[in-house]
């Protein structure tokens, strides 16, 4: 085999990625066409009716788009008070120390736990707690799903942020200390402004993960198809409605679920690419 053939083979292997990606977009767009054609794109994403009784079929994605955005946003809110301290612990206070690597291992392990096990834990441990606190009668719902989702994204946000916090040069920190700043002031006025864009992009990527998380949300969100009335009520996310109904769907319902899949795919694609672009910029 000569070099020319070898290089062609390498090229063909690289070609697999665009082909797979194109195939995904094509498959989703092709099967989503019916739904968009029948309801109209705008109507599809702004309608909150999800009715599959024969004769009255009507599908709108608004409850699920709302569910996804709400769970993601809440997860982010719950995640920051823990992920930010962890990134400071690992990247600044105990940088390079044994205890920092222990905490990193803890977050690595958290990141490694399969989402179905998070779902089980949320269902059997967290849900009864929510019930006993009288937050919601059935225990499942947007809030419960968001809480577990927050735990799941802490490792992603924290470990990447810590990398950027670590990269702030010692000489800048020493410069600030030599002017009489305390550590808290150095963190707030030197480290965060410098590492800020990197930390921000870590959270974008964490959002990307939360948006598409399926099993945990499916097991905890309560699986109702109306617009959620409050954060404690039940609902469905885009991923969880697919997980719930895809197996039994056909015709227009099938196409509507694929349409939701397409929208979810596009949202996560945008978030991920934006996050990666920001990270590449922050690294320079």
């Amino acid at each position: 085999m000569n070099d020319r053939i070898f290089k062609i083979i390498l090229f063909l292997a690289a070609l697999v990625m665009p082909v797979v990606c194109g195939g995904i977009v094509y498959a989703l767009a092709n099967d989503a066409y019916d739904a968009f054609n029948h309801f109209g794109f705008i109507n599809f994403i702004t309608s909150d009716e999800w009715n599959y009784t024969q004769g009255n079929e009507h599908y709108g994605a608004l409850p699920f788009i709302t569910g996804t955005l709400l769970t993601t946003l809440l997860a982010l809110v719950f995640c920051i008070p823990f992920s930010l301290p962890v990134s400071l612990f690992v990247g600044e206070y105990f940088k390079g120390k044994k205890i920092a690597s222990i905490l990193s291992t803890v977050t690595d392990l958290l990141a490694g736990i399969p989402s179905i096990i998070y779902g089980l834990w949320g269902f059997y441990t967290l849900r009864p707690i929510i019930m006993s606190l009288n937050i919601s009668p059935q225990g499942s719902g947007i809030l419960t799903a968001s809480l577990v989702l927050a735990i799941m994204i802490v490792p992603y946000a924290a470990s990447l942020s810590a990398e950027f916090i670590k990269m702030v040069p010692d000489e800048l920190k020493e410069g600030a200390y030599s002017l009489g700043a305390t550590r808290a002031e150095v963190i707030r006025k030197v480290i965060f402004p410098i590492a800020g864009s990197g930390v921000f992009s870590s959270y974008i990527l964490a959002i990307g993960r939360a948006l598409g998380e399926t099993m945990t949300v499916t097991m905890l969100i309560g699986n109702t198809n109306q617009l959620p009335a409050s954060i404690t009520s039940t609902g469905n996310s885009m991923a969880s409605i697919i997980a719930n109904q895809f197996g039994e769907a056909d015709g227009l319902r099938f196409s509507s679920l694929i349409a939701i899949g397409l929208i979810l795919f596009l949202i996560t694609a945008i978030i991920n690419v934006v996050g990666k672009v920001l990270i590449k910029r922050a690294r320079i």
């Binding site: 206070y93 490694g112 179905i116 305390t182 808290a184 598409g212």
Partner: protein, 288 residues
Amino acid sequence: MKKIYIKHRLLKDKLLFVMVSLLSALTAVPLLAILGEVLIKGYDQFSWAFFTEPTPTAYKAMKAVAAGELIPGGIANGIVGTLIMLGMASLFALPIGIMCGIYLAENSKKKFAYIVSYITDLLQGTPSVIIGIVTYIWVVVPMKGYSAIAGSVALFIMMLPLIIRSTEETMKILPSSLKEAGLALGGNYMRVVTKVQLPAAFGGIFTGTLLAISRVIGETAPLMFTALGCSIIRWDIDKPISAVPLLIWEFFNDPNLQDLIWGASLFLLVFVLTLNLTAKKLAKKWNS
């Protein structure tokens, strides 16, 4: 010179330190809670039969529960299915992923490589449930049925970006002198890549593969619409097949089989976390 209020600032400084330490320590709580719960509830289930026998029928399980006995049977069908699908997915994802990774590392200046690199990031972030429904459209529909093949395709798509990334990153940090020395000795391009660079990159690619496997082994959503599940131990790749995470999902939804949840979860958790920790340990060892 204006007065500097030191006490107030020091208090804030201490407070931040205490808060950071406390909140950081709190992140260990969910890990310990999850490990503890799965370990305590799952440990009782572990027996030889649990790993060698397939899932019992709901009726058998109901009878056992009524009699106050342990549910008979186990998760052997899931273990076999997981291994078959992982094996088939790796069989394709490894060579294609490694070659694609080499291409990206070697042609990083080319526009095409740049695009492929972004698509790799994009696929890595694609929700697994979407991989599931796309594989359904691609494989299950034309084959007119769920199968181990479809499940493998879904896992293949999920593994690919991870293997590409680890190969690319490892190849990029190899010293360029290695390649130059190889070429200077008169080796052709292919020989230098396969005989000099790839062996040097073995460690990185190996740990990347372990991480990729640990990442996809617990995936449930992409298998629900592809492999479907099956209650007997099956070796045919064109028929529906089970997997450990699929079994957990079935047990979760079937009140009669609920007791089996924890044993299966413990098995999955131990497997995933061991792979994960081993990979990270190896990576650290090979890096230093």
